[in-house]
């Protein structure tokens, strides 16, 4: 396949970026999207040009490091898929593909397609945990947990922290990310003592980082590679309301 790529190039966070046209040649269907970029980069290096910088690590859809808006859709056209799991058989010879970084006030561009998502870490540091020290635990089976609750907690805990939800939300909201953690811990008995405090602190931190508010567009749900549903946000809102009223 031969493809016409339109790629965001930006030297660093201080300089202005632009879309560059790059032709990708000898692309095969069984390549992953990132392998296609690897190939393009090898060619650029051979021509004495600078390769395209993008984030990636596990290439299995679990570390959350890869990103990319592909033709305007976070992680590209396949649902329930990260960019690293996307394959070139989803594209046709001659296609034009627009590749851009996550765009959000809270995710400044570092270079080309790489962005800084440390705001997510800071939101987690505000309260996304259970305050227990190593070595203080009782026997694991001393606390039975309903299977349904454990499963629901898992569904929320499946979040990989990639930021697709933020990138595709018109408001740049991080509600799905925050709600996933609030629900994971809030569904479990171990998470109850700090439940109110946690949701308040995390939401405050989210606001402080410059993420927008949720106005029910549901774009986040549509692009989430782990299919975390938007009603997770509704549950968080209930927790937040309750916590605020009890103040």
């Amino acid at each position: 396949m031969k493809l016409s790529l339109h790629v965001w190039r930006q030297a660093n966070s201080n300089e202005a970026g632009r879309m560059d046209q790059i032709t990708a040649t000898d692309i095969t269907e069984d390549m992953s999207f990132l392998e296609m970029l690897d190939k393009v980069n090898e060619d650029l290096i051979c021509e004495g040009k600078e390769p395209i910088a993008f984030d990636h690590d596990c290439r299995e859809g679990i570390c959350g490091m890869c990103s990319l808006m592909i033709n305007g859709v976070a992680h590209g056209p396949e649902s329930g898929t990260t960019t690293c799991q996307l394959h070139m058989r989803s594209f046709r010879d001659g296609d034009a593909i627009y590749i851009e970084p996550w765009r959000s006030r809270a995710f400044p561009v570092i270079r080309d397609l790489m962005v800084d998502r440390s705001s997510f870490d800071r939101v987690m540091q505000a309260g996304g945990y259970i305050s227990v020290n190593t070595g203080n635990a009782q026997d694991a089976n001393a606390l039975p947990i309903k299977k349904a609750d454990a499963d629901a907690a898992f569904d929320a805990a499946a979040c990989i922290g990639c930021g697709a939800c933020v990138a595709s939300c018109p408001n740049g909201s991080a509600m799905l990310f925050v709600a996933a953690k609030v629900n994971h811990l809030g569904r479990l008995p171990q998470g109850q003592p700090e439940r109110s405090e946690r949701v308040k602190k995390m939401v405050d931190a989210m606001d402080a980082e410059g993420f927008g508010a949720c106005s029910n567009h549901y774009e986040c749900e549509a692009v989430c590679p782990k299919d975390i549903p938007a009603d997770t946000i509704a549950r968080m809102n209930r927790d937040h309301l309750k916590a605020s009223l009890c103040d």
């Binding site: 390549m31 600078e50 290439r59 799991q85 998502r117 945990y129």
Partner: protein, 643 residues
């Protein structure tokens, strides 16, 4: 180099308890005066940094990814072992200890393995308290599954994402310490030099992968938790960034490297499909419980699998190992697949694949039951290959997965450089020559949550900045020396301006390693490989092309540094494989096999950990070998047989 394993005396059951009592403690008020560097935020590093922070130490934690939560531990699928005996099927600390020593083909240190088994239960308790959503039964209690190399069900799991959930648990604990100010997290920051002062590790030099800035960090102790080196083979199931840099730097500063040739090749991975392939994907071991492995009986048979009649199929594992069949351990299954493909019976476009067929299971249980068990794996397989495994057998092939070798450590997880500790996959400690499934997660968390926090304190109480050597700051000449050496190396890389990409060197190294130091090795191949790698190394340093600048974000430069270290390390692996004139676990020497192709161990001459000491970079310089003899008091050495 002196190898003092510091195995405590007394009965094996009491060693750890007594040793904990005998180790020195740091007064709580003094703990915050100590600074500890933890390199790595995976299960080992994340757990250690969080726990040391909880104890009151000042911790600096580093990772090269953009968040601590992305360490490669996140990718582990299957589960984590613990001797809880919840299913009441006869498990015990002793049995987990025994299985691990045997599974490691009798090349691990008994005392360490026993401690690991002893601690395993505490890990599960801790993780549950943190909110890790392990799989549960309808009664609300934890569920277990069975894994290779064991006859009991002792594996705890969280769907197919156990590593993710455990790592998020550690990351949460770490985040809590960051918010309290006891841990400072340095992301997108790579260790590139280790600083040793008066024989003790006292700091590191890092490169910020966004700004390119080099920074000196001084500390009272340094913990390396930097993961495995499987990417020396270029293609592996490891993440793209996994590297051996920290371990090589430690080796060059005097830390012994143990058993570098012990690598685990996992039998069920998705085969390579093209030369552009960048990594390999694991298909969980659990698939072999219902899948049957076969190749056509006729050489070069290109018919579609479904039209090959039953009596023209060779279920070679069932044929060769009637009692274990498709469930033989990883090393045995991998070699058997290679043997068939080498003999010309492999399938697929490359001939480097065998079938893993679920049609019997689907006939027996129905498609829905198979979907309930393996749905997510089948889905992942279909995503990558565009083939539906419910209809067509999967094609699989072995792939590099885990490295048992690593920095040599004593019972306290300290390397041969005082003050330098190694935890998790980057040390050599517990798995001997072959690791059992679900034991790496257990080891990483045991080291990080429960071993290092005590042993590091013991070291600090004696040798920290309050101790004899005095407070070391980054003004010490040793820091300047290390930083200059690093600066020179970066300049050298940037100034070669050659014609070949970093990636192309990595690929060539990977091919040499896979061909000559992979699943089967022999003397002449290894000798040739050493020469080839030396030549490749020369070529790299004269013709590699690193575009861009050293100031600022430059992923090609990051990769160049890592590949340079892999090149050096690949040679060491081949030397170790050449030295070890026996076959054991993941190390198979063609010269040392039985008539029917099984591994032949040599306990009289090779029951030791082979520890290599760096001797310099000069032309005639060769690393020297030291031996830690392994003594087996509790587990009797026998030949593993799965016939």
């Amino acid at each position: 180099m002196k190898l003092d394993s510091k195995i405590p005396g007394g009965p094996i059951q009491n060693k750890w308890t007594e040793h904990r009592f005998n180790m020195k403690l740091v007064n709580p008020a003094n703990k915050r005066k100590f600074r500890v560097i933890v390199v790595g935020s995976g299960l080992a590093g994340g757990a250690a940094a969080a726990t040391l922070g909880e104890l009151g130490y000042n911790v600096d934690c580093f990772c090269f990814q953009d968040s601590a939560r992305r360490a490669h531990s996140i990718a582990a699928q299957g589960g984590i072992n613990a001797a809880k005996n919840y299913p009441n099927d006869g498990d015990s600390i002793w049995r987990l200890f025994y299985d691990t020593v045997k599974g490691g083909d009798y090349r691990a240190r008994e005392a360490n393995v026993y401690r690991l088994a002893e601690i395993s239960s505490n890990i599960i308790d801790t993780c549950v308290a943190q909110g890790v959503p392990f799989a549960r039964e309808y009664g609300g209690l934890l569920d277990n599954r069975s894994f290779g190399g064991a006859q009991v069900s002792r594996t705890f799991y969280a769907r197919g994402q156990t590593g993710q959930q455990l790592l998020i648990g550690a990351y949460q604990a770490l985040s809590r310490q960051v918010s309290k100010g006891s841990v400072t997290m340095h992301t997108r920051t790579e260790l590139q030099e280790i600083v040793v002062v008066d024989g003790h590790a006292r700091g590191i030099i890092t490169r910020n992968l966004v700004t390119g800035k080099l920074t000196r960090h001084a500390a009272d102790a340094v913990l390396l938790c930097t993961g495995g080196y499987g990417n020396v083979f270029y293609l592996s199931t490891n993440a793209m960034g996994s590297n051996v840099t920290a371990a090589v730097k430690a080796w060059k500063k005097g830390a012994g490297f143990a058993n570098p040739c012990y690598t685990q090749i996992h039998p069920t991975c998705i085969p390579v499909s093209s030369e552009h392939q960048s990594k390999l994907t694991l298909m969980s071991e659990s698939l072999r419980y219902d899948g049957r492995v076969w190749v056509p009986k006729k050489k070069g048979d290109t018919r579609a699998p479904n039209v090959i009649p039953e009596d023209e199929r060779d279920y070679y594992l069932e044929r060769r190992y009637p009692s274990f069949g498709n469930l033989v351990p990883r090393d045995v299954a991998s070699r058997a697949a290679k043997e068939r493909c080498d003999a010309g019976y492999g399938v697929g476009s490359t001939g480097l694949a065998v079938y893993l067929d679920f049609s019997d299971a689907i006939d027996r249980l129905g498609e829905d039951a198979v979907r309930a068990r393996y749905g997510n794996l089948f889905h992942m397989y279909e995503k990558i290959t565009a083939e539906n495994p419910y209809k067509v057998p999967m094609k699989i092939f072995p792939a590099v997965h885990y490295t048992m070798g690593g920095l040599w450590v004593d019972y306290e997880l300290q390397t041969t450089v005082p003050g330098l500790f190694a935890l998790g996959e980057c040390n050599f400690s517990d798995h001997g020559a072959n690791r059992l499934g679900a034991s790496a997660l257990m080891q990483g968390l045991a080291d990080g949550y429960f071993v290092a926090p005590y042993t590091v304190g013991h070291y600090l109480a004696q040798h920290g900045s309050m101790g004899a050597s005095g407070k070391v700051t980054t003004d010490h000449p040793a820091f300047a020396e290390s930083e200059n050496a690093l600066r020179d190396r970066i300049d050298r890389l940037m100034n070669i301006n050659g014609s070949q990409s970093v990636e192309s060197f990595h690929k060539r190294l990977g091919k040499i390693m896979w061909d000559e130091c992979g699943m089967a090795r022999d003397k002449s191949g290894l000798r040739g490989a050493i020469e080839d790698i030396q030549a490749l190394q020369k070529e790299f340093w004269s013709d590699v092309c690193v575009p861009g600048s050293k100031d600022g974000c430059n992923p090609e430069l990051d990769k160049a540094g890592r590949v340079a270290d892999f090149l050096e390390f690949g040679e060491l692996m081949c030397r170790d494989a050449l030295m070890r004139e026996e076959s054991c676990g993941g190390h198979f020497r063609k010269e040392h096999q039985t008539e029917d192709g099984e591994a032949r161990r040599d306990d009289d001459n090779y029951a030791f950990a082979g520890v290599w000491e760096y001797q310099g970079d000069g032309d005639g310089d060769e690393p020297s070998l030291h031996k830690e003899n392994l003594e087996f008091e509790h587990v009797k050495l026998t030949t593993r047989s799965y016939k």
